[in-house]
Symmetry: C2
Subunit: 375 residues, 2 copies
């Protein structure tokens, strides 16, 4: 009975969202494939010269030129544990890339006895255009502990306005309770310097039982991050279990509830995991999806003028729902949800706005693509 | 029989050292007590204005002024685990202290279930002279794992010429085998940025089974460190077990042998712990003491003109031997050993050369002192 009520309330809520959403009748987008044949591409970063860095989950970082030519795997990459949801994941340029040519990436690093853990590495892009390799590579951060798991490796990285790096980490599925424990990096967002150090202002850096890199806790599996172009806040997407996918503004020292407070339910049985909240001491998401998960991935704020009426929207790639979701916002309030690219029929792993103002998406799969959304 | 031979060889070696040592008949030093009543003072750092920062092992950082007045414990200090050999340990100024007023210290940080671990914290010295407190305090590095031990907490810190921090760590006594395992920080020297990050050039920063902060391994308990004034190399003193105290030049990626290669023997039984070496892949000390331990602590190179004939010597405070050892050097070769302050009858915990060119020592005990060595 309770389940029925839950489903009913969710259905009404969904209907209200649909009512509030902008018209979607005439989809205004023209997807143009820029590059194809990528193996499980995961993330995209634009180089200043218009080329793109793209990660492939099996462990390759490539450069795609403006004509869509896919370059060779860059030498110098560290070995990755490519199992299940884990592998080579996000990539981002140093804010001072033009001066130092430093690139950051996250990956599942192999551990001992079959374990792996999400790590952040950095390296310098060296060599002439078309012949680049990674030099001075080093690991600057490791999620602790490493776990024997193929699931919930996260991860995304984003630089804050002071040049420090936020890293979104997963709960490894088997360790959800650890997401509430400050003594580890499981189910956390951490904030580190470009060398992996502990910057000034981290909330738990003097607490002797806490990992000093922690910025926020109670996350399940963050797979999207974007810095709000006006406020500088960190926005993140997070996978819930069955239902309970979330969009959050991830603030310093806050607890995002997993697994104590969640809209999600156990797969299959549909049984309750935690409370739905609100509950004092826990943050509520700005947006959540129930009862059907969309599996949100990359995030991008639209700042370009190329899409009339879209400026200030938050784009959310989705894997399960195989659409690009556009959320309209009033500050932190989600005022509408539009589902785009519903005919594409592909899992969308990343979404970024290019320096040319166009939106680019990365599709998942053995024949993944980079697609520019023209109109 | 083997023990007898060992003792005989050691005795001959000691005799040779004594023969090679400079004359010690007329001890030229006049110890002048600068400050007294300090509780187990551990380390000294000179402020640019001539005052001194001094740590007390129970967990207090104080400022001693040029007149020897001992100031109150600075507010803002983090809690320390004060057990056995562990507590508040070393202190050092940021190389840019004149600009940023940042101070670093090492301490035994309490953990869960009775554990503790050596950690490095930093804070800014804020407030008018005589009214300072520590602000923006944060932990930037933690020895992993924390262990339930009262022993071998190390530790010393020293800045290399690029502004990165070397931290000498102990094996916690119960975990000596871990000193050969790159997966932890036990019995290691680490090298970190001023925020605790991983600087360029660390030897194991791409090895997935290694802690990326590690600089060198196979150390038992480092309690003295100094940077060579000409070469910029890290020199360190290390406590052996019964016999086997060492002075080493601690180089990038090298293995200093503990517990596989050591001159030391088990207390009481005198039984062998490891090989004596040399052995390929392991570094031999520049100097070791057998069969009687001196328990070396703080180190200082003499660069001052105040002590004729001493320039270029390495001073070694000793706890057990209750003397100040002066080692004369020819490059990395120890050419002589002089034992100073033999009448003092106090354990010497630290030795530093002040900005005034005088040597200062810190004596251990419930009524510890800071003593200036005039002549």
């Amino acid at each position: 009975m309770k389940l029925l009520v839950h489903a009913l309330i969710s259905a009404i809520a969904s209907a209200l969202v649909v009512l509030a959403a902008p018209a979607t009748a005439a989809e205004p987008l023209k997807p143009v494939t820029v590059a194809r044949g990528l193996v499980n591409p995961w993330a995209l970063a634009f180089l200043p010269d218009g080329r793109m860095l793209v990660t492939e989950k099996p462990g390759r970082l490539r450069i795609v030129d403006a004509q869509g030519r896919v370059g060779p795997a860059l030498a110098g990459m560290l070995p990755v544990a490519h199992v299940g949801q884990c592998g080579l994941l996000d990539v981002a340029l140093d804010p001072k890339f033009a001066d130092n040519r430093v690139v950051y990436w996250t990956f599942a690093e192999p551990g001992e006895r079959g374990t792996n853990g999400t790590a952040v590495a950095r390296g310098r892009l060296e060599g002439a255009a078309g012949q680049e390799r990674l030099a001075d590579v080093r690991v600057i951060f490791r999620q602790s502990p490493k776990i024997d798991s193929r699931l919930h490796c996260g991860s995304r990285i984003a630089f804050d306005r002071s040049g420090h790096l936020w890293v979104g980490l997963g709960d490894r599925s088997s360790h959800k309770d650890a997401a509430q424990d400050l003594g580890n990096h499981i189910g956390k967002v951490v904030r580190i310097t470009g060398d992996g150090g502990v910057p000034d202002g981290n909330p738990f850096s003097t607490r002797h039982t806490a990992q000093p890199q922690i910025w926020s806790l109670g996350h399940r599996n963050i797979q999207g991050m974007a810095v709000h172009p006006e406020t500088g806040e960190l926005w993140a997407s997070e996978h819930g279990p069955q239902g309970g996918d979330e969009i959050n503004v991830v603030e310093r020292g806050r607890n995002y509830g997993w697994p104590l407070v969640t809209y999600g339910r156990n797969y299959g049985s549909g049984t309750v995991i935690g409370e739905e909240g609100p509950k004092p001491g826990f943050e509520m998401p700005l947006k959540h999806w129930v009862p059907v998960s969309v599996a949100p991935s990359g995030l991008a704020f639209v700042t370009s003028d190329r899409y009339p009426g879209w400026k200030g929207s938050l784009l959310v790639g989705t894997l399960r729902a195989q659409t690009l979701v556009r959320l309209t916002l009033d500050g932190r309030r989600v005022t509408g949800e539009q589902r785009l690219l519903t005919e594409l029929g592909q899992r969308i792993r990343d979404v970024r706005q290019g320096p040319d103002g166009w939106i680019y998406i990365v599709t998942d799969g053995a024949e993944g693509q980079i697609i520019r959304l023209e109109r």
